[in-house]
C-alpha cells in the first residue's frame, strides 16, 4: 500500500458544510479500503486564478491536504468521485514523497565546456559519424583507397 497525498480545495461555504464535505471525502477513502495518516488544513485562501467548476466561477476556497495509504487502483476511483463532487473545486492526488537527497553537481556544471561530461559525450558521438580520412602524402601518384 503506497502512500498518497490528496490536495483538495473546497468551495467557499459555511463551517458546518465544510465539515460534512470533508467527512464525505475522508469516508470515500475508508470505503475503498484505504486509511488516513494525516489531515492538514492549509487554510482559507483566495485562489491565484479563477476556476470554473460545476457551473460556477470560484475565486476563494479552503485547501486540505490528506495523507493516506491505499491500494494503487483506488486512486483512479477517488479522482473520479472527487471530480463529481459539487463542493470540491479542484482535487489532485500525488504520491507522497520523502525529502530529496541530491548530491550537488553544480561544481561539474560550472566547468568550461571541454571539461563537461555531456559535452565530451556529444563530441564522441559526433566523431563517430565522421568518415575516416587518410593523409594524401603517401608518395604514390594515385590515391590508394577507394574514394
Amino acid at each position: 500500500m503506497p502512500s498518497y497525498e490528496a490536495l483538495v480545495i473546497l468551495r467557499q461555504m459555511p463551517r458546518q458544510e465544510v465539515i460534512t464535505t470533508l467527512k464525505r471525502t475522508a469516508e470515500a477513502i475508508f470505503s475503498k479500503g484505504g486509511f488516513i495518516r494525516k489531515l492538514d488544513n492549509l487554510g482559507h485562501r483566495t485562489l491565484p486564478f479563477r476556476v470554473f467548476e460545476h457551473g460556477i466561477i470560484h475565486k476563494t476556497g479552503t485547501a486540505f491536504n490528506i495523507t493516506f495509504d491505499s491500494p494503487s487502483k483506488v486512486v483512479f476511483d477517488l479522482n473520479e468521485e472527487y471530480g463529481r463532487d459539487v463542493d470540491i473545486v479542484r482535487s489532485n492526488i500525488f504520491k507522497a514523497e520523502e525529502p530529496v537527497k541530491i548530491k550537488c553537481t553544480l561544481q561539474e556544471e560550472l566547468q568550461p565546456p571541454a571539461y563537461r561530461k555531456g559535452v565530451i559525450r556529444m563530441l564522441r558521438i559526433a566523431r563517430k559519424g565522421q568518415k575516416e580520412k587518410y593523409p594524401l602524402n603517401t608518395g604514390l601518384n594515385y590515391y590508394p583507397f577507394q574514394k
Partner: protein, 143 residues
C-alpha cells in the same frame, strides 16, 4: 641599523667558510658521511593537501539541504518571475540540474492544485529576499 642588516650576511658567510675549512682539515675521510647525517628531518618538504584548493561549489538548496515541496508556495514563488509568473531557467537561478528539475516539477504540481499562479506571482511574496538577480545570469542568454 643599516650597517647591521647589510653586514650580517657577510659575517655569516665568513663564519661558514671558516667552519668548512675547519671541518675539512679535521675529518676529511668522514666528510661525506657527516653531511648526510647532518640533514635536519624537520626541514624536509612535507606531503600535505593543497592548502589553496577552493571549496566545492554548491547551489542554494543543496547547501542548506532544502527539499522543494508543492505545499511550500512561499519558497517556490521565489523562482517565479514577478512579471509573467514563468519559472526562471537554470542559468538565472544558479541551481544544479537535478534541483532545478525538482523545483520545476513541484511548481507545476502547485499550479495544478491551484496553490500558485501560472501567469502571476502572488503579491504578498513580492518583497521576499532575492536568491538571484535575473539581470545577471550565470550564462548569457539570447534575451
Amino acid at each position: 641599523m643599516f650597517l647591521r642588516t647589510f653586514l650580517r650576511p657577510i659575517i655569516m658567510h665568513q663564519n661558514r667558510r671558516e667552519f668548512l675549512r675547519f671541518s675539512s682539515s679535521v675529518a676529511e675521510a668522514s666528510s661525506s658521511e657527516s653531511t648526510e647525517s647532518s640533514i635536519d628531518e624537520s626541514d624536509l618538504p612535507v606531503r600535505m593537501e593543497n592548502p589553496f584548493r577552493k571549496e566545492r561549489v554548491q547551489c542554494v538548496l543543496c547547501k542548506h539541504q532544502i527539499s522543494p515541496d508543492y505545499k511550500n508556495v512561499k519558497l517556490l514563488s521565489q523562482f517565479q518571475s514577478p512579471f509573467t509568473g514563468r519559472i526562471y531557467g537554470r542559468h538565472i537561478t544558479g541551481l544544479c540540474k537535478k534541483m532545478q528539475r525538482k523545483v520545476e516539477q513541484e511548481i507545476v504540481k502547485a499550479q495544478k492544485s491551484v496553490l500558485m499562479g501560472t501567469v502571476t506571482k502572488d503579491v504578498q511574496f513580492f518583497k521576499d529576499p532575492k536568491l538571484f538577480d535575473p539581470e545577471k545570469p550565470i550564462r548569457p542568454h539570447k534575451y
